[in-house]
């Protein structure tokens, strides 16, 4: 790499810098105009959460019931595994059959897990699960 590659006087970097500055100015101007022109009347009622016209009772930060947590965990597990599969898909030519076998094993394992969760009723949601 030439010593002058990152010089600010190189045309490529210069135009990028100008572009960045312009973008920043534009975004800032939009925000400032909105803040300046926006109608703001901060009365007590206006700042109160809307709950069907009634003053809300209690706090919205409660102990969450476990089902929400379970769903979040399942989502994490099955979603993050996707990242492995994508990575394999990009390099599948280089990895060859060995890679294919390994990822197949991995997917089957995942599916088994999914079926297990399904069977256990982990995917049923809310009162419907308790009724049936």
């Amino acid at each position: 790499m030439a010593s002058g590659a990152l010089s600010p006087w190189e045309p490529g970097v210069f135009s990028l810098a100008v572009y960045v500055v312009l973008v920043l100015i534009f975004v800032a101007s939009q925000l400032i105009i909105a803040v300046w022109l926006g109608e703001k009347k901060k009365t007590e009622e206006k700042l109160r959460p809307y709950e069907s016209g009634i003053i809300p009772s209690g706090d919205a930060r409660l102990h969450y019931p476990v089902p929400f947590y379970l769903v979040a965990i399942f989502f994490l597990i099955f979603d993050v595994e996707g990242a492995f599969i994508f990575a394999w898909a990009i390099a599948h030519g280089k990895l060859g059959w060995a890679g294919w076998l390994q990822i197949s094993f991995f997917i089957v394992l995942l599916l088994l897990g999914l079926f297990y969760v399904w069977r256990k009723g982990g995917l049923d949601w809310g009162p419907l699960a308790q009724k049936s």
Binding site: E51, I54, S57, P127
Partner: protein
């Protein structure tokens, strides 16, 4: 500026400024007036017409304001459509405060403008006492076209604003609603007759309680009330009761409608328990429970201080029985019957609230209709009836008198802290001003409390000051989607009491219109129910047929939602020319249209998944809690007053009573759809076999005579004069009549003291009982199902709160 150019320098830039500003004003106003965001906000009848303005025929979209926003945060136009109740006023004010700036207010309908025909203790006499108003739309209710004009008027008003200066933080300029609030006595007059009449008493006050110094009905003679012979089963029951309970039960010899027993208060619970479980026939249902304040009787020596009145119904024998219990004292008490009928809970709370009678052993005796901080018991004769007799309701009151916190209702003792969520009174899915306080564990409803009374229009109190005829316009407003069908039970009660014979033609006309309103109501129900579970399309189409029905109603009666067209002894006028063709055309067209809706909804898998097995109620519970109408029939009981206790000639019509067995949201859908098919059949039969003859009885003692008679002979003229001005003198007595209106059984209990107006009018609304069971339907379901359940139960607020 240049030194020498003072003239130029001081004026020219200013002019330029002005031109720039006014140019910007024009641009901003143009943008604003064509992009109004009305809030999804309605109080009563007017909202139906407002919503109709959105539908295909009127197409509010042409004016750039078609999308109703459910939250005030997204809205800048508040159309106050309907009656502003004192209990809801704080909520209206809060919603207004929470709306985006700048915002505008349209006051729609007489009630919002000035209280309208509801000059009564629970109503604010004009929204402009608590909010600034830009445009007033007159009418009761205004037609959808009037809504369009109101929007156009508001657009003109927006055009005249100069918003640029406030937007750029300069001095001057105007935008949004800025008019000052109206103050009674200074900038407005609450007097229903207009300003300057303070010295004169309102017409009618001289003959209404508590003073009667001007009554001339006393001088008139009328025959005694109708007397009926009791049938053998009633006589047996009466004998059995007196042998069992001795002097504690006395059967009244004279009755106009049903077996009436006077029961001593200490044996009441035993008698009721016997009637429910052991008697033949068994009286399984508590039809109604109410009280009468006897303090303003013409002959008080014959009456106790209060009378409790219980109406029971037997499904087996299709008969009713009335129990009266005399009570003495200023605030008397009586034993609660919630242990016998759980449905008595709300009824007793209502009597406690409005009459000030205590119930010993009631689990939760507190106010139900009036706001928690209300003073006095409005249905007592000593309580002022008119809002104009009370201090004006101001913004100060609206800021101070808040609804109670949800935590008060959803108490838990087990240390759990569920999420308490207020759904309503202002919510798209509550179908009116009703507040649900749901305790949630995750998405599951673990507790549900209801707060009603936001729509209390005090019709029962009004019934005591309007003459028997004058009260008719208030009837259709008790269930504003059922229109003329509301009039029938009241008229039947009065006609039963005074023994008025209704000609056959009038009876068939009444049936035909009642059935039209059943269709019209069920069409709105279908649209909103489908909408509640996520199907938008039916909404656009059902209002098409509803408009056709309202066209026919308008052709016949001249009115739309509230025809006020039935009269004591018949109907207001004969059928107009061309009615048959219009009805025939509709009868031919409707079944096909109904089939289209069925194709859209019935087998729709999403609809089924949302409704089947959801919101189930057992038949036993439904009977115990006094559930009526399609909601009862969907539990498997074949019970329809039109068949079981026919009135107005229903026995001459051929129709089926559809039932279902599941008792869930889907069953309620099936029953109502089939009811529509049956209704169209009844309409067809009525139209094809319309008898000839008079449209009103020819005995003019109590009725308003035919106009041509009134103009021709002196007898009729005198009857007309008397019955229109001081009101017909209905003989002293009482009667109860109930009809199968679209939502269930609506009953009227009228008590006359031999004057030109009722001594007491009691309305048994189907909604009151149907909504009381809501916790049974919804607890244990998920919060999303609550919306489907609400849609399937099909209630309306004015008939719950009355």
């Amino acid at each position: 500026m240049a030194k020498g150019g003072t003239r130029l320098g001081s004026t020219s830039p200013k002019k330029l400024n002005e031109r720039l500003l006014s140019g910007a004003d024009a641009l901003i106003n143009w943008a604003r007036k064509y992009s109004l965001w009305p809030m999804f906000f309605g109080l009563s009848c007017c909202f139906v017409e407002k919503a109709t303005a959105l539908t295909a025929r009127y197409d509010l979209a042409r004016f750039g304001a078609e999308v109703l926003r459910p939250s005030p945060r997204q809205a800048d136009l508040l159309v106050v459509s309907g009656t502003v109740f004192k209990k809801i006023a704080p909520v209206v004010l809060r919603l207004y405060e929470q709306m985006a700036e700048p915002k505008w207010v349209i006051s729609m309908g007489s009630c919002a403008n000035c209280g309208g025909m509801y000059d009564v203790y629970s109503v604010v006499q004009g929204i402009d006492q608590i909010l600034p108003v830009d445009v007033y739309i007159p009418g009761c209710p205004p037609r959808p076209e009037a809504v369009l004009q109101g929007i156009v008027e508001l657009q003109k008003k927006i055009e005249s604003e100069s918003p640029t200066r406030p937007i750029f933080h300069l001095k001057g300029g105007t935008q949004g609603s800025v008019q000052p609030l109206r103050v009674d006595g200074r900038t407005k007059s609450r007097d229903p007759r207009g300003p300057g009449m303070q010295g004169t008493a309102i017409r009618g006050t001289s003959v209404t309680p508590p003073d009667f110094w001007g009554s001339r009905s006393d001088l008139m003679w009328t025959p005694p009330p109708q007397q009926i012979e009791l049938n053998s089963s009633d006589q047996n029951l009466s004998r059995e009761l007196s042998s069992r309970f001795g002097d504690a039960v006395k059967s009244r010899d004279f009755t106009s409608d049903m077996l009436t027993l006077e029961v001593a208060d200490e044996r009441l619970a035993d008698v009721l328990r016997y009637l429910k479980h052991e008697a033949t026939p068994k009286y399984q249902r508590l039809d109604d429970l109410t009280a009468i304040d006897e303090s303003a009787r013409r002959h008080p020596e014959n009456y106790p201080d209060f009378t409790m009145v219980y109406h029971l119904l037997s499904y087996d024998a299709a008969s009713r029985i009335r129990l009266t219990v005399p009570l003495n004292g200023k605030s008397p008490g009586i034993t609660s019957i919630t242990g016998i009928w759980p449905s008595a809970n709300w009824y007793e709370r209502e009597v406690f609230d409005l009459m000030g009678i205590h119930f010993d052993g009631h689990p939760n005796l507190r106010r139900i209709i009036m706001p928690p901080d209300w003073e006095g018991h409005p249905l007592r004769k000593s309580f002022p009836g008119r809002a104009t007799e009370m201090a004006p309701y101001t913004r100060n009151d609206a800021e101070k008198l808040q609804p109670l916190d949800g935590g008060v209702y959803a108490k838990t003792d087990d240390g759990e802290h569920p999420l308490i969520l207020n759904i309503g009174p202002h919510h798209v899915s509550t179908h009116g001003l009703l507040r649900y306080i749901a305790s949630l564990k995750g998405e599951k409803i673990i507790g549900l409390e209801l707060e009603i009374g936001y729509h209390h229009r005090a019709v029962e109190k009004i019934g005591e000051r309007q003459t028997w005829h004058q009260f008719i316009p208030y009837l259709a407003r008790v269930d504003y989607l059922a229109g003329a069908a509301n009039d029938l039970p009241y008229l039947l009660a009065v006609e039963t009491l005074a023994d008025i014979k209704v000609p056959e033609r009038a009876q068939v006309i009444r049936v035909m219109l009642s059935e039209f309103f059943r269709l019209s109501n069920h069409l709105v129900w279908l649209a909103t129910y489908a909408h509640d579970v996520g199907a938008m399309t039916p909404n656009f189409y059902t209002f098409r047929e509803r408009e056709m029905i309202l066209d026919i109603v308008e052709l016949i009666t001249g009115g739309r939602l509230h025809p006020s067209w039935f009269r004591i002894g018949g109907v207001a006028a004969d059928l107009p020319e061309g009615w048959k063709a219009a009805v025939d055309q509709f009868v031919k067209l409707f079944p096909g249209r109904l089939q289209e809706y069925e194709n859209l909804i019935r087998k729709n898998p999403i609809f089924k998944a949302r409704t089947r097995g959801v919101g189930r109620i057992s038949l036993q519970d439904a009977m115990d809690w006094g559930v009526t109408g399609p909601n009862l029939r969907s539990c498997g009981l074949n019970w329809d007053l039109r068949k079981k206790m026919p009135y107005s000639g229903y026995e001459n019509f051929e129709f089926e009573v559809p039932t279902a067995t599941e008792g869930d949201c889907y069953a309620r859908y099936l029953v109502r759809i089939e009811e529509m098919r049956q209704s169209i059949g009844i309409i067809e039969q009525a139209a094809n076999n319309m008898p000839s003859g008079r449209h009103v009885t020819n005995d003019y003692r109590y009725v308003i005579p035919r106009r041509e008679d009134m103009l021709k002979d002196i007898e009729s003229l005198i009857h007309h004069y008397i019955n229109v001005t001081r009101g017909p003198k209905i003989p002293r007595g009482e009667a109860y009549a109930a009809c199968e209106i679209p939502r269930g059984e609506q009953g009227y209990y009228v008590v006359s003291d031999g004057l030109g107006y009722a001594y007491r009018v009691r309305i048994r609304g189907p909604g009151f009982a149907n909504v009381q069971v809501m916790p049974l339907l919804a607890v244990g379901e998920s919060i999303a199902d609550l919306i489907a359940i609400i849609g399937s139960v099909d209630y309306i607020l004015p008939d719950i709160d009355r």
